[in-house]
Every structure is written in C-alpha cells, then in structure tokens.
Amino acid sequence: MSHLLEINNLSVKFHIFGGTVQAVRGISLNLNKGETLAIVGESGSGKSVTSKAIMGLIPSPPGEIATGDILFEGNDLVKYSKKQLQKIRGKEISMIFQDPMTALNPTMKIGKQIMEGLIKHQGMTKHDAKKRAIELLQLVGIPNPEKRVDEYPHQFSGGMRQRVVIAIALACNPKILIADEPTTALDVTIQAQILDLMRDLQKKTGTAIILITHDLGVVANLAQRVAVMYGGKIVETGTLDEIFYNPKHPYTWGLLSSMPKLHAKTDKLLAIPGTPPDLSNPPKGCPFAPRCPYAMKVCTDHMPEYTEMSSTQRTACWLLDERAPKVEPPATIGVGGSNND
C-alpha cells in the first residue's frame, strides 16, 4: 500500500560559521491518510527541522537537504522547484505553529490572513473567500465570527489566536497538517481545548496530522503512531500502545519516566541525566550512548540497526541484539498517571 507521505533516508545539514550541523541524520518515516503520527523528542533532536523539510521551508543557505527524498503522493518534494512547492504549501500540506502570539501578522485583519490562501489556491473571489473565512472561524470555535473576521490579532487571546492559526492551516482542506508544538505556548486549560478541537476537526476533515511535540500527554491524547527522535535519528517507532506499554529503547524509557505522574509517591521529577549530543560533531555510534545507563562498548562505536519488534514497532538499540544482556525497563515508566486527559 502506498503511503500519503513517505520520507526515505532524509538528512538535513546546516552549514554555519565554524562547521556543519547535521540536524537530521537519515530518517525514514511514513504517514497514512487520516492518521496522526507523533514525532517526539527533546529540544534539538531534529523534529522541527524534519517538519520544515517537509514544508520545503529549510532556509537555504545555510540549510540543505543533503540526502533522501520526501514522497508526497509519490512525488518527490525535495526535487520540487520553489514555484511547485508554493502550490503544495497551504493547499496540500499546511502547518500550525508553536507560538500563536507571534505567528499572526499584527497589522493584518484576521479575515484577510485566512483569505490569502483561499484566494491563492482556490481562486476564490474576495467575497467568497470572506464567507469561507467566517465559516472557518465558526468551525474552529470562535464566537461571533462575522464581527471577529474584521479584527486584528491583538484583539484575540492566545488560545483564540491558536484557533485562528488552525483555521488558516485548514482553509484549503489540506491532506496533511503539520502541528509543530501546537499547545506548548498555551495555558494548560486552553491546551486541552485546542487538542479537542484538533481531534474533532480531524474527524470532520480526514486530514492526516504530523504532531511534533515533547509532551507525551499531548501524544497520548491525539496520536495513533509515535516516532521517537534523538540526536537527529529516529530511535524507536511504533503504535501508541507499543510505545507507551511496551517500549524497548532506553531513551523512550527515560522519556516515559520523566513524565510527571499524578499519583507518584515522591514529589521529585525524574530527569534523564546528561545533555543531548552536539550535532556539529555527531557521535559515531548510538547518539544516546553517553546518557544511557545500559550503554555497552559497542554502543559508542556503532549505530545499531533497527530491530523489528512487530509489524509496526521498530527499535534501534544494541540491547535487542541476541548477544546483549537482558535488561528490564525501569518500574518508573508505568503510565499510571494521567496527563492532559
């Protein structure tokens, strides 16, 4: 079966003063129609760069897609010209951003910002586009849309602005919606509303979502499949249940352990000791080895191959090699606590 989006061996490099940063190092991913794929990982793991690469928004220079291809409905977006990409962006693939306070143009009316894409991609007249903009505002749950369509961003609260950003992204019924940390900048109460909204909208429109986040609570809420990124590589992928209840990679264990739990006996937060690798000088072996409590000699020298745990779960870790000692995941990863539910 062919996927809606298929990323093969994608590498993204940034040539900066004093060296080259390899932000994304040969990742492969796929996305099916209507599903939600979460890409999780900490800051600097390459998740946002991956999303920018799909949108064709890697600034070049200094950025460069070094290898790999991004197949959207079978066509390689990496080979697309600027003009071709502009036809895809906002129409087939669109994006919502982390910070709604800065993602909207402060001097342009909300309605006009929604209408732009409609006029460009669907050739609507101003009148029709405005009608559609009002519909979209209604759809994302903004009260009194006929009036608010003529207001400016500063007249909206953070949560309302994020709804507007979502309305802009959904304007042309895209096949893929990339949500880059869509709730990070919002209050917790508003976060839940926005997540509910995204889930509702996905049901209504059938859009596939790529959810970029570091918040496992958000992942549990929205995603069907999860890819865990670390040091520019995908260290583990699987279905939501596999990642939460049967994780195999020590980094995934660490992520799950560091999630605050509601009924925890201690009031101490668990952190993964150490810092992420320097991607201007990436490690030869597994990027997580320096922080991994189970690291062996082989880990620092050779990147492990993927081990197929099931038809859907793949993990890159030497512990899964038959010669490795058997290691049990720590008890702290239990998903007992609820977060954002």
Binding site: M55, L57, K82, L85, Q86, K87, I88, R89, G90, K91, S94, M95, F97, D99, T102, A103, L104, N105, P106, T107, M108, Q113, E116, G117, K120, H121, Y152, H154, Q155, V165, I168, A169
Partner: protein
C-alpha cells in the same frame, strides 16, 4: 481619538509657550544692540532709538508686551527692514524653505525605503554590501561638501544644472539631492534593520507556509510591519530638514527662511529672531503630532490603545 488629539494640542501649546519664553530671555542676553553704529551715537540718540523700538522698558514689560501682541497676531516689525512686519517676511520666505525641505524628504524617503528593503531582503549578498557602503558614505559626508561637489561636476563641468538660484525646476535638482542623500542614507539603514528583523518573525513563516509567493510575502507581510518604526523617524527628520537647510540655502543662494534666520541673529533683529524661532518650533511640534496620529493609522495596536471611539 478626539480627546487624545485635544490633550496633545494642549501639551503642544505649553511646549510652544516654553520655547517662546526661553528664546525671548536668551535673546535678551545676547551681547550688542540692534543698531549698526551704536558706538558712534551719543547716549541721547541711543536712548531715543531705544525708546522708539520700545527697548527702554524693563525686560518683563517687554516680554508681556510681546506676548500680548502675539496673541493678536502681531509679531512686531523687523528692526533691519524699517519695521516691515515680520509675518510678511515669514509668509514670503517660508514657503520656499518648505518646498526645498519637502522635496528633499520625498526624494530621500522614497529612495531610502526602497534601498533599505532591497538591502534587507538580500542581506549579506552583494547588493546589501553595496547599499551599506553607499549609505555609510552618504551619512559621513556633510551636505555642504556634497553640494560643492555636485555644483562642480554638474554645473561647472557639464553645465547641466544652474549653479545657484531657486526658480525653474532645474534649479531645484542639486539642492534637493544635496539634502536628500543624507536623508536617504539614514532611512535606508533604518529600513534595512527593520526589514531584517521583520523577515525573521514567525508570521513571515506563516505566510510562506500558506504558499504565498516570495513577492507577496514581502509586499503584504514584511514591508508594512517594517514601515511602522520608520514613520517615527520621518516626522522629526522632516522638521529637521525643513528647518535645518540653512547651509544649503546659503550655498545655492536660495531665498528661504534659513538665511533670514542667520541674518537676524547676527544683527540682533529681535522680532525677526523671535518670529523665525516660533515658526521652526511650531513646525516641529505639529509634525510630531501628525506622526503620532499617522502611527495609529499604520499600526492597529496603537489605534485601540489610543481610545478610538468608533
């Protein structure tokens, strides 16, 4: 909005009053008299002259007298031109300075904004380096040097434009360029900085993510936002250029208010000094008010906090 403007006008009047008072006092502290051959006059004659011009009264009385007359639209007569009313001079000469100033501002602003935008878009590329070098050069060279160079090449060598004067459009070219390039350079640098900053904003990425073309992103999203701070600079700059073109007026023998102002100070022509200073002050204050109102027109965030009663 109406209340806001009313309040601002109130402040303006206070500022204006302070300027008048300070100018009056400092002017009275200037050494010398308005009379050319004061040392050859007998004390008797001097007193007669002083009495004639009302200078024999105590300064506070003169001051109140001046204010009273001013309220009735009488700025007094020029001591140097047989008591011909100062207002007549101002009305006759000010439009010329205003014309020179505004033409220079338009020339400088339009070119400056365009250069700044180009420079900001092509940051770090050849076009940017070229613009930056040019602007540093134009900011560093004083306008009178530039004027002299222009006169030498374009008037003397190839005789394209007249050396001096202010009548046909051809005579406007060199003075306007002389003043305008400095304006252009300042605005270009400012605009470049703003442009670079705006292009790094998140909403530019949002606009790109909508699939808009580069031209649309820059034209619809970047330029307007980059222009907002420019408006604040243009206002005071306009006032400074209109009132500060004394040297250029002298070099090109333009009968503007600048040369009048210098003459007035040199000859202690009290009413004339007061009149020109008042004009400059009023112009400056009004320009700044206009800028603040314009600011609200461009930036919707200001409009609301200003208390728009729509």
């Amino acid at each position: 909005m109406g209340r806001y403007i009313l309040k601002r006008v109130g402040y303006m009047l206070v500022t204006f009053y302070v300027v008048i008072t300070l100018t009056f006092l400092s002017m009275k502290m200037l050494p010398g008299t308005p009379f050319k051959f004061a040392n050859r006059l007998t004390p008797e004659q001097l007193n007669q002259l002083k009495h004639y011009y009302g200078l024999d009264q105590p300064i506070p009385v003169q001051y109140l007298h001046y204010l009273w007359n001013m309220l009735h639209g009488d700025l007094g007569g020029s001591f140097q031109y047989g008591m011909q009313p100062v207002t007549e001079f101002l009305l006759q000469r000010f439009p010329i300075s205003m014309e020179l100033g505004i033409e220079s501002m338009i020339f400088g602003t339009v070119l400056g904004i365009v250069l700044g935008i180009i420079s900001g878009i092509y940051r770090g590329k050849f076009l940017d380096w070229g613009t930056v070098t040019l602007t540093v050069l134009f900011i560093s060279i004083p306008s009178f040097i530039f004027a002299a160079i222009l006169q030498y090449f374009f008037s003397v060598k190839i005789q394209l434009f007249p050396v001096i004067g202010w009548d046909s459009p051809m005579t406007h070219v060199l003075p306007v360029i002389s003043i305008g390039v400095g304006v252009m350079a300042s605005i270009a640098r400012f605009m470049r900085t703003e442009m670079v900053e705006v292009l790094n904003q998140d909403y530019i990425v949002t606009a790109q993510a909508k699939g808009l073309s580069t031209v649309a992103v820059i034209y619809k999203h970047a330029i307007r936002n980059a222009m907002i701070p420019i408006v604040t600079v243009i206002g005071p700059m306009t006032a400074a250029v209109v009132t500060g073109s004394l040297v250029i007026e002298n070099i090109f023998a333009i009968p503007g208010i600048g040369s009048q102002f210098i003459d007035a100070i040199v000859t202690n022509d009290y009413p004339m000094i007061m009149g020109t200073t008042e004009l400059y002050a009023a112009l400056f204050i009004v320009t700044i008010l206009i800028v603040d109102i314009l600011y609200g027109v461009i930036d919707p965030r200001i409009r609301v906090s200003g208390g728009k009663s729509s």
